[in-house]
């Protein structure tokens, strides 16, 4: 038996309303690895991420987070594991009744024994990481979509999680900011050994930032491997996806 992976799913099945969205996913994410998940819209990427962090309860199969199968656990039993795992939501999901500062400080104020100054310093630093300044006092409704997304990123990174799940961290961002976010993920991975799962449509950015890519189609992983292996995959759907993506990039 090899050493414990950071995240692992075994025959993960998720069904809702009589519709099976994930049909037996086997995915393994080692510590210190950046894993990309790509796939068409509606293929189940967001659902997979939410199962990985225990926000959705799988219908079948196992989800192992740092050596614990969280599938059978109750909400209360899952709470401690969430302190070590961050998630960036596809649509930011900022608390709309709190300011940017309060959003980013939310977890820190509740789970860490820190002074107001220390919290302030962390919040400012995380916002700097995502290229935002002078927005602390604004409410989410006063921000642009891309700014919200980056605040969501800062909020997920505030608690120094070991593992972060990014749901399309760069969609809706301009190329410069998207590149900055890619750089940030790479840097956090190199410097802090952050384990990351990145869901993205942006094939170019996935090729750039990840060690391993899984292609999801209709709730199943149809191909996986290193970025190079994916690039040379002969699976027709992967081919089609890459072709369209590169056409788009031109």
């Amino acid at each position: 038996m090899s050493k414990t992976p950071a995240l692992e799913t075994r025959q993960l099945v998720y069904a809702v309303d009589g519709k099976t969205i994930l049909k037996g996913i086997d995915l393994r994410v080692e510590y210190g690895e950046v894993v990309g998940i790509m796939g068409a819209s509606g293929s189940g990427k967001t659902t997979l991420l939410k199962c990985l962090c225990g926000l959705l309860k799988p219908t079948g199969g196992e989800v192992w987070v740092e050596g614990v199968n969280i599938a059978p656990l109750s909400e209360r039993e899952r709470m401690p594991m969430r302190l070590r795992l961050g998630i960036v939501f596809q649509y930011a999901a900022l608390f709309d009744f709190l300011t940017v500062y309060q959003n980013v400080a939310f977890g820190l104020e509740r789970h860490r024994r820190l002074s107001q100054q220390q919290i302030r310093a962390i919040v400012r630093e995380r916002l700097e990481w995502v290229g935002l300044e002078n927005v602390e006092h604004l409410y989410p409704s006063q921000l642009s979509g891309g700014m919200r997304k980056r605040v969501g990123l800062a909020r997920a990174l505030a608690m120094d999680p070991h593992i972060v799940l990014f749901d399309e961290p760069t969609s809706g961002l301009d190329p410069v900011n998207a590149y900055q976010i890619d750089r940030l993920i790479t840097r956090l991975n190199r410097e802090l050994n952050l384990t990351a799962v990145v869901v993205s449509h942006d094939v170019v950015s996935l090729m750039r930032t990840t060690h391993h890519i899984a292609m999801v189609d209709a709730g199943q992983i149809i191909a996986e491997g290193t970025p190079d292996a994916i690039r040379h995959s002969e699976h027709p759907k992967v081919q089609a996806f890459l072709k369209m993506a590169s056409a788009e990039a031109l």
Partner: protein, 265 residues
Amino acid sequence: MREELVWLDEEVRRPTNPLQASLEFVGALGLLLFASGRALLQGRIEVRETLHQMAFIGAASAPIVALTSAFTGAVVTLYSASLLVDVGGGGFVGGAIALAMTRELAPILTGIMVTARCGSAIAAQLGTMKITEQVDALRALAVSPIQYLVIPRVLAALAMFPLLCMIANFSGVGGGWVVANAFGISANSFLQSIRLLTEPFDLIGGLIKTLVFALIVTLVSCQQGLGTRGGAAGVGHATTRAVVLSMVLIFAANYFLADLLFATR
């Protein structure tokens, strides 16, 4: 006990008939009550959020509670005075209105007004948070929605309902007084009859009722809000159901509470 049943979608089976639907509603309410009680004993209280909700429920509802009770007190006095003064019972009007307000009208008006004003707002806010994934974001930050969203609202309502009910009592009797004056009943005899006909327990019993109403409004509204599915239409449904169900439950509870508190007196 599985508190997440209140908000997880995949475990909610579509109820097939009204009986099953109402059983599931009662089950969800009980679950939420139990989970809140347990979280209250074990976890920390979100003080800032609770104060915020107290201001929202209390301060914001006070004017409408005062206004509606003043008019209700006035209209009840209008009827009772026009009857009693004719038969020479003008001296009982003050007591009659005070009794009606403290035991029944003030608590029920408080319940209805806060349901209309705040129950709908709670359901709409929590429903919006649910469909925009803010509830998921809370959970992802290891904060229980019960701890952060439900308990502050329940505590705030428990603190503010008796206060609002007192406001309703005073403005209801005040409204009655004005009308009684117009019927030529002296202030002295108005107050005298209040002293004669009511006892402290009439007031206390009424306040006890409002505590139950506070639980009903906040738990039903939170349960409907957290259980919201679908988009804006889902929030609309949740809001309507929160108001309707709260009102029905308040009236039903009022009957049983009246039986329990006042029937033998």
